[in-house]
């Protein structure tokens, strides 16, 4: 298994190229280009802010910032796994014609989406300055949190991309799963809104910690609770090891099903 990781590393040049390809293709022939990375979450934020603060009378100070802190890591997670679902199948031609470690396809999405994620932090900070929310030194933790998020997402992406080769209808299920996951994660509502009697179940959702940490350091400007950090690290290690293990176990079979 470690050999496989080493091999993956030896293909880093290809990984870099695939990431560049992803980014180029996404913004090719669009007038606004990279601006979309920033506009997209901003517009979603505007819609959600209007809905929640005006229509549903959700009373919270700086709700827009609160929302964005959760929405950006969530977008990264959901986009990565929904793209990863078809990443092997859509590269079937290449997989059939030339030897490449197959994990490189879902992994390249992890990186290309991360570039978008980092870029979309720019409008968040601009907005904070405009609205007048203070940026605290705790934001220095963001790189660690991003790495954490990346490993968690990578594990799930590897698992799903491989699973989808064997069970094609997973493509349809993943959208539903993502939607449900969105609502059970405190993104549009704060952690405190979770009903006490269900708290136990909600706490099983690793995204509570992984995404919650972003809100802690950016919105609340404080170092997250130690249990939050521990849980999120634990979740990402488990996710990555399990996802990679499943992928590695089934990698040789992929060629026969693709």
């Amino acid at each position: 298994m470690l050999n496989k990781l080493k091999e993956l590393y030896s293909f880093r040049e290809l990984l870099k190229n695939l990431v560049i390809k992803e980014l180029k293709l996404r913004y090719k022939r669009s007038v606004l280009g990279f601006l979309w990375t920033m506009l997209n979450p901003l517009m979603m934020m505007i819609i959600l802010t209007i809905v929640f603060s005006q229509l549903m009378r959700f009373d919270m100070k700086n709700f827009a910032i609160f929302l964005l802190c959760g929405l950006l890591p969530w977008n990264y997670f959901s986009q990565s796994i929904s793209m990863a679902t078809t990443s092997l199948i859509s590269n079937a031609n290449l997989i059939n014609k030339v030897y490449i470690p197959k994990a490189i396809f879902p992994i390249s999405l992890i990186f290309s989406n991360m570039v978008n994620m980092v870029l979309s932090l720019i409008p968040l900070f601009l907005l904070m300055i405009i609205i007048g929310v203070r940026i605290q030194p705790s934001v220095l933790l963001i790189p660690v949190l991003l790495l954490n998020l990346m490993f968690f997402t990578a594990g799930i992406s590897l698992f799903i991309s491989c699973l989808n080769v064997f069970f094609r209808d997973f493509t349809h299920m993943i959208e539903i799963i993502i939607m449900a996951w969105f609502y059970v994660t405190p993104i549009i509502y704060p952690l405190e809104k979770i009903p006490a009697q269900y708290e136990m179940f909600f706490k099983l959702n690793p995204l509570i910690y992984i995404i919650g940490n972003f809100r802690e350091v950016i919105f609340y400007g404080r170092i997250p609770d130690f249990s939050f950090i521990l849980n999120s690290l634990f979740a990402s290690v488990i996710s990555f090891v399990m996802g990679y293990w499943y992928f590695y176990k089934n990698e040789k079979q992929i060629i026969f099903y693709i």
Binding site: F11, E13, K24, N96, V98, I255
Partner: protein, 400 residues
């Protein structure tokens, strides 16, 4: 593994799981699991106990009909498919672009694709940068390198693919059925490049239906049949054996496709008729033979040339008439249409004969569609008593 071996394949088998009533979806799997139903499957052995040893600097050719397992063997050599059994070892760097330009992304420009595909083939960025000029020059794409590949012609696409594959300069080069593409001058260039490779002592593995180029290029040939290695040795001998299997009917001619061409015009159907207009593929010596060729031109094609050819069972080329030589100028074709070729007296002796149909451009160099020996008809002697040779010439004997 001896030092002078480039690839050694030991007892390699590959089995595919052939699943009947396969549950392709999670839903079906779950339902079947609850019902206690299992997937019905059987194993198909694509390769059975193959042993091969390729020496460094050798050029080898792998031949066989469709479904014989030769592509699977190539994929095993290229590490794309892992053998179910046995071992394979490589000595040296491998470039296995089984299909030219397989990794091209149509939206990216030629230049961007060179970098992306160079990386797929394992080149570092600095190496690609160093070889960039050479690749572009070889592919003759200087003017087009910054337009998206989707706007390339199929020839340009192939040229770029070949230029990239060889720019890798690998120790072992694997080529699947590419020598049939591109125009004649580019083909010559490819052969020249491959010869340079040979001279540098590199190992080349070719899979092709084009037996002539296998014979010309290779030092050694292997014949694969039903997953077994049935013959190996000098290309002439192996190819001769292969042809004898085909002519004995042990290998179905329909599995030996030698169809090529740009596809702008396609041959839809070819039928043989007797003098009374009945469709048949059995004739007597001296009969009239009428061939009806139906085609479809997807766009307006100026001055096409239709041609046919007859080969004997041991591949002797008997004739090769075409409309241009005959003096029938066809201004243009568009859409569906048909053509008739009539042999007034079929002066062939008893035996089976292969029939080739092709549609070319006016220069007769670029095929639109080319069915090489894809059809067969049989001739019986009828009233003619001659037995030797392949030809009957209307004649008489007289003692004087």
């Amino acid at each position: 593994m001896p030092d002078n071996a480039a690839i050694s394949i030991h007892n390699v088998s590959v089995k595919y799981k052939l699943i009947h009533e396969r549950s392709l979806t999670l839903k079906e799997t779950a339902i079947n699991f609850l019902k206690g139903k299992r997937d019905k499957y059987e194993y198909l052995w694509a390769l059975k106990g193959i042993n091969m040893s390729v020496k460094k600097g050798e050029t080898i050719g792998i031949i066989g009909s469709n479904g014989s397992g030769k592509s699977t063997l190539l994929k095993v050599i290229a590490k794309i498919v892992d053998p179910s059994d046995g071992t394979i070892r490589h000595n040296g760097m491998l470039s296995a672009m089984i299909e030219l330009g397989a990794g091209f992304n149509p939206e990216l420009t030629g230049e961007e694709n060179i970098y992306l595909n160079g990386a797929i083939l394992g080149l570092s960025k600095s190496t690609i940068r160093r070889k960039f000029g050479e690749i572009v020059e070889f592919a003759e794409l200087e003017k087009f390198i910054d337009i998206p590949v989707k706007n390339y012609s199929s020839g340009m696409y192939m040229r770029l693919g070949f230029a990239l594959s060889t720019a890798v300069d690998p120790d072992i080069l694997i080529i699947d059925e590419i020598l049939a593409v591109g125009d004649e001058s580019f083909q010559k260039k490819c052969f020249k490049k491959l010869n340079e490779f040979k001279q540098k002592g590199r190992t080349i593995i070719i899979v092709s239906h084009d037996l002539n180029s296998i014979e010309r290029m290779c030092d050694k040939a292997y014949l694969i049949r039903d997953g077994n290695l049935v013959s190996e040795g000098y290309p002439q001998d192996v190819i001769h054996f292969y042809r004898s299997l085909i002519s004995k009917g042990e290998i179905d001619i329909s599995n030996v496709p030698s169809r090529q061409g740009s596809g702008d015009v396609t041959i839809k159907d070819v039928k043989f008729y007797s003098s009374s207009g009945i469709e048949t593929d059995s004739f007597n010596t001296g009969d009239m033979l009428r061939v009806r060729i139906e085609y479809y031109a997807s766009k307006k094609i100026d001055k096409p040339v239709f041609g046919v050819a007859i080969h004997s069972e041991n591949w002797v080329h008997i004739n090769g008439p075409n409309t241009k030589l005959y003096g029938l100028d066809i201004d243009f074709i568009q859409g569906a249409g048909a053509l008739e070729y009539t042999i007034h007296s079929l002066t062939l002796l008893e035996g089976g004969y292969y029939f080739t149909v092709a549609i070319f451009d006016y220069t007769c160099t670029q095929p639109y569609d080319y069915w090489d020996k894809c059809l067969k008809f049989n001739v019986s002697n009828g009233n003619i008593k001659e037995r030797y040779g392949i030809f009957y010439m209307p004649s008489e004997w007289k003692k004087i």
